[in-house]
Symmetry: C2
Subunit: 338 residues, 2 copies
């Protein structure tokens, strides 16, 4: 009989996530049936989209039911198995719950081959979500070409820190936007951005015009709101705006205005296109292999922000909305496999 602690969704947040939104609850898991396995979760990824899953918006996945375990992306170790695709001792990754242990039939999860030379947190932090998201946005939506000028918002965030480097590996000129001198220093000194703009201190629109006088080919948006407004003004005729995230609008009960410069979509003949990485699962193996290769070759730098202990998951998630995280945010739920 396995005991677990699980964060259960108790109340839908209206504005911010509050003390009574989720509750850490203890369960005794049932014995395995045929076709099931016991997963010991090692790492939980915290992502802006978690806030969407708590709401009852008509979104890209059904909301988490009240009283159910909070949905999350994890990597874990198979401890016991009656499922042929998830053998004991293997790793599995994908959609699960904010739990130390789960009994799963495999839905939403895939076996994960160990990457020689990579720690679990590196493989998971870069390759599970953030890396494929950056690549889908740049290639499948943004269709970047060599020589393009690419702007990335939340450029020091989990996706943004990889997006600039990947664009640069494809011969693009990159401008990253982040908040604060420290993060902007990371952009140019660690993450290989050609230019950094500090939105807390600088006039983003003016700086974009100065850095990209001929216009921006691809704008990769993770934030929305004022960032996107500034970005639309700086676009080149026929440019592409990739909508990867709109975190500025997730903690809101009121309708949030779209970009004020929306008419640029006609003046500049823009294509604005949103995507959800889960739609592109078929491309994951190709993109993950490429990401792993770059990491091992030292071509891709990143920062991970790992907080220990399931009890800190909710407070840690909130860092995403305040910009308080310093790298790809994860919670360690258990030790790496021996």
């Amino acid at each position: 009989m396995t005991e677990t602690r699980t964060w259960v969704l108790k109340k839908r947040p209206t504005v911010d996530i509050e003390a009574d939104t989720l509750q850490l609850t203890e369960y005794t898991l049932p014995a395995l049936k045929d076709g099931e396995f016991l997963l010991r979760n090692i790492l939980l990824s915290l992502d802006a989209t978690n806030r969407i899953w708590m709401s009852d918006w008509d979104s890209y996945l059904p909301p988490v039911d009240l009283g159910a375990g909070m949905r999350g992306i994890v990597v874990g170790e198979v401890m016991e198995s009656r499922h042929k695709d998830f053998p004991k001792g293997g790793l599995a990754t994908g959609v699960s719950t904010w739990s130390e242990y789960v009994v799963s039939n495999g839905a939403g999860l895939q076996p994960l081959a160990a990457m020689p030379g990579l720690k679990t947190e590196d493989a998971f932090g870069v390759m599970a979500i953030a890396g494929p998201t950056a690549m889908i946005g740049l290639h499948d939506i943004g269709r970047i070409k060599k020589g393009d000028t690419v702007v990335v918002t939340a450029a020091a965030g989990a996706v943004g820190m990889l997006t600039g480097q990947i664009a640069r590996l494809h011969g693009c000129r990159t401008i990253g936007i982040a908040g604060g001198a420290e993060k902007c220093k990371w952009l140019t000194e660690e993450f290989g951005y050609d230019h950094a703009i500090d939105y807390k201190k600088e006039n983003v629109e003016a700086r974009l015009k100065a850095l990209a006088p001929d216009g921006v080919d691809v704008h990769f948006e993770n934030v929305g709101g004022a960032m996107l407004d500034a970005g639309l003004h700086a676009m080149k005729l026929g440019g592409t705006v990739v909508i990867c995230g709109l975190i500025a609008s997730y903690n809101s009960t009121e309708p949030v205005p779209g970009p004020y410069n929306f008419r640029e979509v006609i003046f500049k003949r823009l294509r604005i296109e949103g995507f959800v990485c889960l739609d592109y699962m078929a491309k994951y193996p190709e993109y993950q292999q490429q990401l792993g290769k770059w990491i091992l070759e030292g071509k891709l730098k990143y920062r991970l922000h790992v907080v220990d202990g399931i009890e800190h998951a909710v407070d840690t998630l909130k860092l995403l909305y305040s910009g308080g995280n310093h790298g790809k945010l994860m919670v360690r739920l258990g030790a790496d496999p021996k």
Copy 2:
């Protein structure tokens, strides 16, 4: 020596077009030089985009200079010519000024073959701008397919009245949105829309959900603002929003908020794409031939709203922004050729 009256831009409008925005001015035209011809304008098209050309926004064409003749799309008759491509007695159409007569070197104009069986106002009203705009939006941007559900805003307007019929000729189901019972009656009884929604009386969002419970494939936007908000909510996953016009935001000094439901671009993985018909001049001959064929076969219905006399041009233009026009709006500047 030819005398002409020309509307000259005197002041950039801040909010609405006012009495001193344009001034009707008399000129004596110079004698023709080599490579020039004298065009007697017959019809002037009034289009929402005229308001954009008066402003000094960074838009898709340079603003009209203060003191210059107001830019407009016309059809006219060549009265004298020293230009080999525009022989005396022929028709010419394209970008000119709000003038009775102009001396032109041909820039922005093309010769127009007379369409047997069609009056000048029909050929010009349907085929010069509105028809090609509808076809570019539906095919090149919207990529409509048989069986698609297509929503059109300002559906009784110059472009909208054609858009629904053309979509239906390609096997789409069509929903038109217009203001008032009379226009809605036109939509279903004359312009072949499957359904009409009266935005002045009905809850557009609720009606769209009821009429398209499986979602809208292509939303063809001519208005912006609240119309687009309602439309975004009704989209199908992976749907396309064609931005043809955003007339709701043209008479504004303040930044106008974009769609409040902008996050649907991610939730529904939408593509939102703007276009300017002048970018697709290469497709005009093909589209115009098809439009002419449909008109002669009686497959395309339309209403023209023709006001006589250059002196009424400014007041007539204002009808577009109040929805006071009843069909494709034009000013007759002179008689048809004999």
